[in-house]
């Protein structure tokens, strides 16, 4: 696993620079590694773990857009991750219970009846639609309300974090209908497919890998589009963008919704792959955890968030297997080092390294590529509102 991951990291680092043919080659390589090589090389357990990391990386792609490109320091992505995950989990529970059946935990702790707001989730189509629509609607309403009032910077960060805390407390308090601290688990099937079957587990991994690759393509499209340029402009000089005739609130809301949907889809796939969702996976701590990988990888780059997120999750699992109680110190130390010395994340190492090489004919000394231009400097790491 470590070998294939490091190869992956090394090869994909090329992609950070958006040279066209290189991007295509790097992307193709990533696709081959994820979809063809990993399933052959990894044991079912390790493949399942990689699948979980890919789900978390989906959240990171969204954060990379919203925070790295849009300057929205969102400390509450756990809410959207959790909404997607819980909606999926509720559907799986109802599907396991059979038509008209009651999920097992409701028999134990609840009234023994399925509450009305659970009922629509019996339908797979409705469940899939809601996984996307509910988080999108919440993000749209919340984003619009917040951004049109020009709440930004640290205030937005605090607000998003409070939302994550409130969401976790709400889930814990509603034990009869949400499973409380236990969360929801013990799923037997996924849209008719037996979850205990290793073949189906591998299929789920492949779905996750495919969805993540699609998200990276979407993110790249957004970053290189005119929307992406306005987004960076809003991040760097919101007032000037407003004077130019744009509505920064609309731009910010749009990217916030995209990030929310990506987190929700990650959550929805997390549930069948990992087999459990609980308030401990959606509250303040995991919400900040999503950010750590993004910051370490390089929040303003295309692949930095994905690779950073996967690397941090992988390191966390490996370290905790070797040194059961020591990994958390290493993660904290890495975060501090990156924030203090590499505000652009590890991806900025690539840019620095390239700048130091003798300039080639297509690379003048100044960073001309959109990604390099968008890499934040040290001052960027502060929430925008705290800058002068």
């Amino acid at each position: 696993m470590s070998q294939s991951t490091s190869t992956l990291t090394a090869r994909l680092a090329v992609l950070v620079r958006p040279g066209r043919s290189r991007a295509l080659a790097g992307f193709g390589l990533a696709a081959v590694l994820l979809l063809a090589v990993a399933p052959v090389l990894l044991s079912p357990f390790r493949l399942g773990l990689l699948g979980k990391f890919l789900c978390l990386a989906m959240v990171a792609v969204g954060i990379g857009l919203a925070w790295g490109r849009g300057g929205l320091l969102t400390l509450g992505q756990g809410v959207y991750f959790g909404l997607g995950a819980y909606l999926m989990a509720m559907h799986l529970k109802l599907a396991d219970a059979g038509p008209g059946g009651v999920p097992d935990f409701m028999m134990l702790y609840g009234t023994g009846e399925v509450p009305g707001w659970w009922e629509p989730l019996r339908s797979p189509v409705v469940a899939l639609a809601l996984v996307v629509l509910v988080p999108a609607a919440l993000a749209a309403v919340l984003g619009w309300a917040v951004f049109t009032r020009r709440v930004r910077g640290a205030y937005f960060a605090i607000l998003s974090q409070a939302l994550a805390a409130a969401f976790a407390i709400l889930l814990i308090g509603q034990q009869q209908t949400t499973g409380g601290t236990n969360g929801l688990n013990g799923f037997r099937s996924f849209f008719g497919y037996d979850l205990a079957d290793p073949v189906n587990q591998r299929m789920l991994y492949l779905v996750a890998a495919g969805v993540l690759l699609v998200m990276v393509v979407v993110a790249r499209q957004l970053m290189t589009s005119r929307f992406g340029e306005v987004l960076v402009a809003v991040r760097d000089q919101e007032d000037r963008v407003r004077f130019l005739g744009y509505d920064p609130a609309a731009v910010k809301t749009a990217v916030y919704v995209v990030a929310a949907v990506m987190a929700a889809v990650g959550g929805a796939l997390f549930v069948p792959i990992v087999g459990i969702i609980s308030p401990a996976d959606v509250g303040v701590v995991p919400s900040i955890g999503f950010l750590v990988g993004v910051a370490i990888g390089g929040r303003a780059t295309l692949l930095g968030p994905v690779l950073g997120s996967i690397a941090v999750s992988w390191a966390q699992t490996t370290m905790s297997e070797q040194f059961p109680s020591g990994w958390i110190y290493l993660q904290g130390a890495l975060f501090i080092v990156v924030v203090a010395f590499l505000p652009g994340g590890l991806a900025s190492l690539v840019t620095t390294w390239r700048r130091r090489r003798p300039a080639r004919e297509d690379e003048p000394g100044t960073p001309a590529t959109p990604d390099a231009a968008a890499a934040p400097d040290a001052a960027d790491l502060l929430p925008e509102g705290s800058r002068a």
Partner: protein
């Protein structure tokens, strides 16, 4: 996006081949597997990894899964220590069926999701013969499907809320009829008429309080208040004021962890004492008394099945061995003793079965007994719990808990409270 960027149109061209190649790859990958997918319910759910336990060598692997980091670490580390002590003793005594125990230790990180992940690793990757650990109900619930899907064994050492009996779990802590119900019997004996319930907001307190309410109704007692605080909550002035105003005969406390410190400090500040309104706690053991502060909690009651002060040769040996290994200042508590006992019970089951095979062990489990520090415990093959003696204890000024009342003999486990008429509507 009203103004147009002049460079906008040229860039989009690159992604088309990317999307196309991705689509081809995804379709190829999915269609390759789609044909081999089995529909649910056709009975093909047997896991490929079941039965990978290797017993050919001199040793056999077992897994310890406790939270060594996170909020539960302070409690679960003690269970981990007790398990290690038992493993060392068993290995020194020749092992199990002549094989030395090789311990694979994993950190549950106080998170249910991690417990599920690590349990999967222990069972399918490390191929351990059995796993010992878990503390919170959430961690047990998270691990249960893993052990059932892979048909392997978990030994769970903590008192819990009952209403569960999995083929793949052995519950060596108390179920409700061995801890909560005897505590209520004791209070009834003492003439308690009114109760106030205080608990942390999670499954165990909510279920315990449901049982207490049913018991009270059937036994002419009245629950005059029921309050929940979020896990980790430390501001108890409101709740203590309500307790004081209600003027109940006793308080039944199912708070967990740090909250107990704040609760008992506030309780004393409000002028309440063990003499006029005793608090019966079910989650405070010797380990926690030190953290709460003996001054704050002296004289209050607890309900468990083991105290460090239990007077028996087995317990003397256990306490002495534990202190020799981990230090004179380390107390022993009920969950530690139940964990220590669980490893010996597994050893007895394996030796009775003459095999490490899960099905053989399950078959042999009924009636297996062990002279534990708490007294002789016997496994019930039907519900996989053990018969235990209930002990009500009073916290002394030495920080230890002294038995105040005992059920005299082991109580048969009844996780679904089927033997109690008043509990009819509970499960």
């Amino acid at each position: 996006m009203r103004p147009r960027s002049s460079t906008g149109t040229t860039r989009t061209g690159t992604t088309r081949p990317v999307v196309a190649s991705l689509a081809v790859l995804a379709v190829a990958a999915l269609s390759a597997c789609g044909a081999r997918v089995d529909a649910a319910g056709d009975g093909s759910s047997a896991s490929a990894s079941a039965g990978c336990v290797d017993t050919s060598g001199d040793g056999v692997k077992i897994g310890f899964l406790n939270s060594l980091s996170g909020t539960m670490a302070i409690s679960e580390q003690t269970v981990h220590d007790a398990l290690r002590l038992a493993a060392d003793e068993i290995n020194a005594g020749g092992g199990v069926l002549g094989k030395q125990l090789e311990i694979v230790s994993e950190d549950g990180q106080s998170e249910p999701t991690v417990f599920a992940e690590k349990a999967t690793k222990l069972v399918t990757s490390d191929c351990v013969a059995a796993v010992f650990g878990g503390w919170t109900s959430a961690s047990r619930k998270a691990m249960l499907p893993v052990f059932e899907a892979n048909d392997s064994l978990l030994f769970y050492p903590v008192q819990y809320e009952g209403l569960e009996a999995s083929e793949n779990i052995f519950y060596t802590g108390a179920t409700t009829n061995q801890q909560i119900v005897p505590a209520l019997d004791y209070l009834k004996e003492q003439g308690t008429k009114t109760l106030f319930l205080v608990g942390s907001d999670y499954v165990f307190p909510r279920t315990a309080n449901k049982i207490i309410n049913a018991y009270a109704e059937a036994n002419g007692m009245e629950v005059v208040g029921e309050e929940y605080a979020p896990l980790g909550h430390t501001d108890f002035s409101t709740i203590v004021n309500k307790v004081k105003a209600a003027g109940a005969d006793a308080v039944f406390n199912t708070l967990n962890g740090d909250s107990n410190v704040a609760f008992f400090k506030e309780y004393n500040n409000a002028g309440l004492s063990a003499d006029d309104m005793p608090v019966v706690s079910v989650s405070i053991a010797e380990e926690e008394v030190g953290g709460i502060g003996v001054d704050n909690i002296e004289g209050q009651l607890t309900a468990w099945n083991y105290y460090q002060t239990v007077d028996s040769p087995e317990n003397d040996a256990f306490v002495e061995a534990f202190k020799a290994e981990y230090g004179e200042d380390r107390p022993t508590s009920d969950p530690m003793e139940a964990a220590y006992t669980s490893l010996y019970l597994w050893k007895e089951m394996v030796e009775k079965a003459g095999s490490f095979d899960v099905a053989d062990v399950q078959e042999a489990a009924d009636g297996v007994s062990f002279d534990a520090p708490e007294g002789t415990v016997v496994v019930d093959g039907e519900n996989h719990h053990v018969a235990k003696t209930a002990l009500i204890g009073r916290i002394g000024d030495d920080g230890l808990i002294h038995t105040e009342w005992s059920s005299e003999e082991p109580i048969e486990p009844d996780p679904f409270l089927e033997g109690y008429d008043w509990a009819d509507g509970l499960s």
